[in-house]
């Protein structure tokens, strides 16, 4: 597996794009795997009772799914040394069908001395940003 090197990277380079879909089953699977059993992620009645538009995806599922393209690009998931996001908008997941997310990773900074690159993720659903300030620091 070839891995990217710092000297081949420039700010603005696109490291990858990906389309991710979440159906209700994906939310149940994430609830089980993460232990986050908050009913807003699987119970429509509960979600609307607390003022949400309906069942929404776990923010941590969106965050977890968005970083995959960076792990795959880096060639080693252990190369991710820092990852932060702001949850700007909930992702409603319909009873049938799925929510679709578009993820793009762009080089935001290269630090040759530290041996790191910052990849900025743009994550949208229905044309709206669902994550803000989404930055992944990768050691290459």
């Amino acid at each position: 597996m070839t891995r990217p090197t710092l000297d081949g990277l420039a700010v603005g380079d696109v490291v990858g794009t990906r389309t991710v879909t979440f159906g209700r089953q994906d939310l149940v699977r994430y609830a089980g795997a993460s232990g986050d059993l908050n009913p807003i992620h699987w119970n429509e009645r509960f979600a609307t009772d607390v003022g949400l538009p309906g069942v929404i995806a776990h923010g941590m599922l969106t965050m977890g799914a968005a970083v995959n393209l960076v792990c795959d690009w880096a060639g080693d998931p252990g190369a991710v040394v820092d990852y932060g996001v702001r949850f700007t908008r909930p992702v409603p997941v319909p009873d049938s069908g799925a929510a679709t997310l578009e993820v793009t990773g762009t080089v935001g900074a290269v630090d040759a001395e530290a041996g790191t690159v910052r990849v900025d993720l743009t994550v949208t659903s229905g044309g709206e940003k669902v994550l803000g300030r989404s930055q992944v620091l990768v050691r290459l």
Partner: protein, 152 residues
């Protein structure tokens, strides 16, 4: 009442060790759609220098949320979990998490802020191995919508 402001600055005792299982790493990787072989195949992980399958970057939050439950479940903290919204999250890995790790977490409440219908609490989980070497730092900001501000 969103969050008891007296909780700012609080530090909780270390949790019991959390043992990271290989099948759990694989299940979590499947749940977030992480298909890199290092999450699933121990030989592929070893080829990259890891001792066993590597957890996805956000797995540390699973460990952190168990520690955060000490705050959420504390009746004196007065947090209505049904009104909690995740505002932001940051994970710093001092080294990757992998199967076989035994992780101990110390939960810190760094800040409690209340304004314009929202109360926010910033928690910091310092995750280390059982020998005390740092593994991950997880900083979460949770927002609690105040009941009287929710439209009918």
């Amino acid at each position: 009442m969103g969050i008891n402001p007296a909780y700012a600055g609080r530090e909780y005792p270390p949790t019991a060790p959390y043992v990271v299982g290989r099948e759990h790493v694989r299940d979590f990787a499947r749940a977030v759609g992480a298909t890199h072989p290092a999450h699933h195949d121990a030989d592929a992980a070893r080829a990259l220098g890891h001792p066993d399958v590597v957890a996805p970057p956000t797995f540390a939050v699973v460990v952190a949320q168990r520690a955060e439950a000490q705050l959420i479940a504390d009746p004196e903290a007065a947090i209505d979990f049904s009104r909690v919204v995740h505002a932001d999250e940051r994970i710093t890995h001092h080294r990757p998490v992998h199967a076989g790790d035994e992780l101990v977490t110390v939960l810190h409440i760094d800040a409690v802020v209340e304004r314009s219908g929202l109360a926010t609490v910033t928690t910091r989980c310092e995750i280390s191995d059982v020998a005390g070497a740092p593994v991950s730092t997880v900083v979460s900001r949770l927002a609690v919508r105040l009941a009287e501000e929710v439209p009918a």
